[in-house]
Symmetry: C2
Subunit: 561 residues, 2 copies
């Protein structure tokens, strides 16, 4: 009797569930639910409250809706009975966090707090806590906190503590009212099995937790903000659950919501990127997986803890048990191209695409791919959403250089693609420089799946062969693998994620190989990228930060005027 | 009996004729003819020859077509008899130059040479002679040529001798065949009155001629290219005619072409920008006129010859008799905004503009004008077409910095507008720094006429009041003034351009005044502009030049491949 596992992957705009055959990883059904409130970055829903720049919130109701809509749909579509589903695993964007009350109810679901922006979920790309991150980094450096170097020397404003600091500073009532600040990854597991199971991955990468040393000291938190002295003791779980463990079982309430059977095994929560590593069949050191979607997350495992400046972090067992998991990232990749398509493609191109019976995307790619390397004369810095690695600075902004009166949209489009490839190359070179070998590149995610032109550019820029995960929905499949591990071998699943990865993961036949001529040509352009990267990113000219400050005060003046 | 004068203004895309009442400057009729071949920058007409990057040619037939189509039209429309037209003046873009044979026939009109790119008119914005300009500047500096400092220390690739050098280097046959290299401004006068009248304005500003010192030496030209030793003696007129003189009279052939009467006075040719100064009623030092069209030309008169680094030139009597005429320029202004509108405005904006019953231009301006200064967080370098002043370098390219995922088209549009205003401010400050006072700003041209938002940005950025020329077609009206001066007072015209300017020129009632808050805010942004301007423009990082070199070799490789 075949057994099945379900993976649910929470992305930035939508949630996706997949039903997987445990024996071979075959995907039997998929359903996607787009969040009704999406990314909240202008006006707080149901109010007239205008958010300040760089805010990005979400509505946890949207997360529940995903469970309710997608799980019954995939069971029905595959004609699989709930009793044959042995486990469910979930993964989330991170650090996506929310304040909840004693019972785990998000404060923003409580009418009293609904009109308070800080009561809502702060999405990973909420970038309004940069001032707090700066303060945290300054204090950590002054106190010579030993953990700082394990996070590349800088804690990102996207992570847990800067976000909590912002709440403490700007809305002390919400801070006080929060019984817990939870990762959404753990909150969704709480909804499924009724148990708080703080996962080791987000605790490690996003909340400065270390397997042997625990969290930073209360002295440190006190220095950040007086009310935060006991933030860990009072408002966070210190009971950390490693990846691959079973979190619990589907509760009566969750069974009603999902139509799964009570008692179905639920895996400890995970992060969308990390969970994809076994989906690509990777179980060893030196193989870097790039999850390429709205942003890109780079994960590579190593055998030793290494200090790598500008990486997001190194966490023991953070990706797979028994290895050091290194993470780096680019905050703006697919988002970058989507921004371009939405804001910069002229009507004439839409018309031409229609005439050619192509999507605007296909039309742009077709034109961009006909260009020689360097032919556009353009160079971009891919910082439309700040820089996560290796500069760790959300206040950096994008640059496009080399425009002339003959510059065409497809040239800009290609320059943006190339810029993200240069950004990845910086990350790869940085890891190798600091002792973390990167032998092979793997890719997964929407871009890897649907954008062969981008993959070829990455191969040409990095000079490395790129394999892509077999599944077009690697995070969901990875989560299903963890669901099968939560169920265990006895129930028809697996006893380790390595076993699950071997049975259920793998790569596609199509491999992207670097071409010599193109790689050589990109070498020159990459050198120029590095010069600009360092000039604008390492303090020689902080114009981007000053423009952001001017912008913030202009927005405030505009709101007053 | 009222008397009339005709001014014909040759722009980049079209030619325009205006019929003016000599007594008061009233414009009775206008006609515009768009050049059939426009700006030739991709394929040579009638051939499959693909031009290299940065080429920009024109077809002289288009210039004749302007005379043939517009002059009869304005006479007819205003019901004015040819006998009541006392004079005609013309102005042209410059340096727009062409090789002609002994009889003045453009080589590109001769079938034998028609498929040779170098036989055609090189438009002012032909930018493919930068290597030649670099050589010229290096040699001039090595030889310590005394005239170099009068051109801001650099001769532009847009000017006469770099263009001739390119012909000599790349097509020696065309070079040999050319009996003359003529300014189009003088060629059109030759068509009207049958006489070659090399005008002092283009000779001075574009061909290194000095009222007292003449042209550079043949030694210098020999150093540029062996075959150019006697280029001045053999291939250029050394008989220089100052502005305001009568060139000759309408010939039988020209009368047939234009329906003007034989014997009608024809003014010495002029440049579109310079001829506009009297049209705005300016007859004294310290009033800077900006001709704002596809590019901007800045002209201000002074009482003394001054050395101003990065200006285009200082020419005695170069604008009006008796004063030193200083010129500077920006090579990309209206072109900049047009590029944006053509290449970067998304379909949704077109749809919304339509819904609002606005042109896309009005819609963009409406949105851009609602932003506070600095609110976009964007900063641009306005070098889409190189930098004419004060860096004098066509190999510089555009930059847009500060983009985020929330950046909207109208923000980019506004940033481009602001960048051109910063560029003007650099020019104004540079003149004042080097002893040429700029008391007041005046503007004329398409942008001044139709784009009050741009004018207000310029006032706010420069902190100066801006007046605009009364006529919406200042160059044509200025040319008509010179036509009336060519006719002379006895014939019902004037004996000096100062008299003509007083009678026929002037400004509009509407004045743009700088606003304190905005000027202060722009001060901060301008400081950032200056830093980037100097970083990319003064050699700290020559990335733009290197990208251009990579581009050129990629284009060559693409053409081979």
């Amino acid at each position: 009797m075949p057994k099945y596992s379900i993976g649910v992957d929470y992305g930035t705009e939508s949630g996706r569930a997949v039903l997987v055959d445990v024996r071979n990883g075959r995907e039997l059904a998929t359903a996607v639910h787009k969040y009704a409130n999406g990314v909240i970055d202008r006006v707080l829903p149901g109010t007239k409250i205008v958010l300040e720049p760089d805010w990005a919130l979400q509505d946890p109701n949207d997360y529940l809706e995903v469970l309710k809509r997608t799980i019954p749909a995939i069971l029905k579509s595959a004609k699989v009975a709930a009793k044959d589903v042995i486990g469910i695993g979930t993964d989330f964007t991170a650090c996506t966090m929310l304040p909840v009350d004693e019972r785990g109810t998000p404060l923003c679901m409580i009418p009293k707090w609904r009109n308070r922006p800080h009561a809502w979920v702060k999405l990973w790309k909420h970038h309004a806590a940069q001032a707090e991150a700066d303060t945290l980094n300054r204090i950590a450096a002054e106190r010579a906190e030993p953990w700082l170097k394990l996070y590349g020397g800088k804690i990102s404003s996207e992570w847990m503590f800067p976000k909590i600091m912002q709440i403490a500073a700007e809305d002390s009532e919400i801070y006080r009212e929060a019984a817990r600040f939870m990762e959404a990854a753990d909150w969704i597991v709480l909804q499924l099995c009724g148990l708080e199971r703080r996962n080791s991955c987000t605790a490690g990468y996003k909340a400065i937790w270390h397997k042997r040393n625990g969290y930073p000291s209360s002295d440190f938190f006190k220095a950040l903000h007086p009310s935060m002295e006991h933030v860990v003791r009072d408002k966070m779980s210190t009971d950390i659950w490693s990846l691959g463990r079973k979190a619990g079982e589907i509760t009566t309430v969750a069974a009603r919501l999902t139509t799964l059977k009570e008692g179905t095994a639920v895996a400890v929560g995970n992060v969308d990127a990390h969970v994809s590593v076994p989906a690509a069949g990777i179980t060893e050191a030196g193989k870097m997986l790039m999850i390429m979607g709205t942003s890109t997350c780079h994960m590579v495992m190593g055998t030793q803890e290494q200090v790598v400046p500008g990486m997001c972090g190194v966490v023991e067992d953070g990706i797979l048990p028994g290895l050091q998991g290194f993470e780096a990232g680019q905050s703006c990749v697919g988002d970058h191209f989507a921004w371009f398509t939405r804001n910069c493609v002229p009507q004439a191109y839409e018309v031409e695409a229609k005439k050619r019976k192509m999507s605007i995307f296909e039309h742009l790619v077709d034109r961009a791919s006909r260009l020689e390397v360097g032919e556009s004369g353009l160079l971009a810095l891919d910082w439309w959403n700040g820089n996560r690695s290796v500069l760790v600075d959300v206040d950096l902004t994008g640059v496009l250089l080399g425009t002339t009166l003959l510059t065409r949209p497809e040239e800009i489009y290609r320059a943006l693609i190339e810029a993200t490839a240069y950004g990845t190359n910086i990350i790869v070179e940085n890891f190798e420089k600091y002792g973390v070998p990167v032998h092979e590149l793997y890719a997964a995610g929407g871009l890897a799946e649907r954008h062969p032109f981008v993959m070829q550019v990455y191969a040409d820029v990095t000079g490395r062969t790129i394999k892509t995960a077999r599944s077009g929905q690697a995070p969901a499949v990875g989560s299903a693998q963890f669901g099968a591990v939560a169920a265990g071998a006895k129930a028809g699943g697996f006893d380790s994620i390595v076993d699950a990865a071997k049975a259920m993961g793998g790569v596609k036949d199509k491999v992207y190989r670097p071409r010599d001529k193109e790689h050589k040509a990109y070498g020159k352009l990459f050198a120029e990228y590095v010069t600009l990267h360092d000039y604008f990113g390492r303090g020689a000219n902080d114009v981007m930060k000053r423009l952001k400050a001017i912008k913030a005060s202009a927005v405030r003046a505009g709101a007053r005027g």
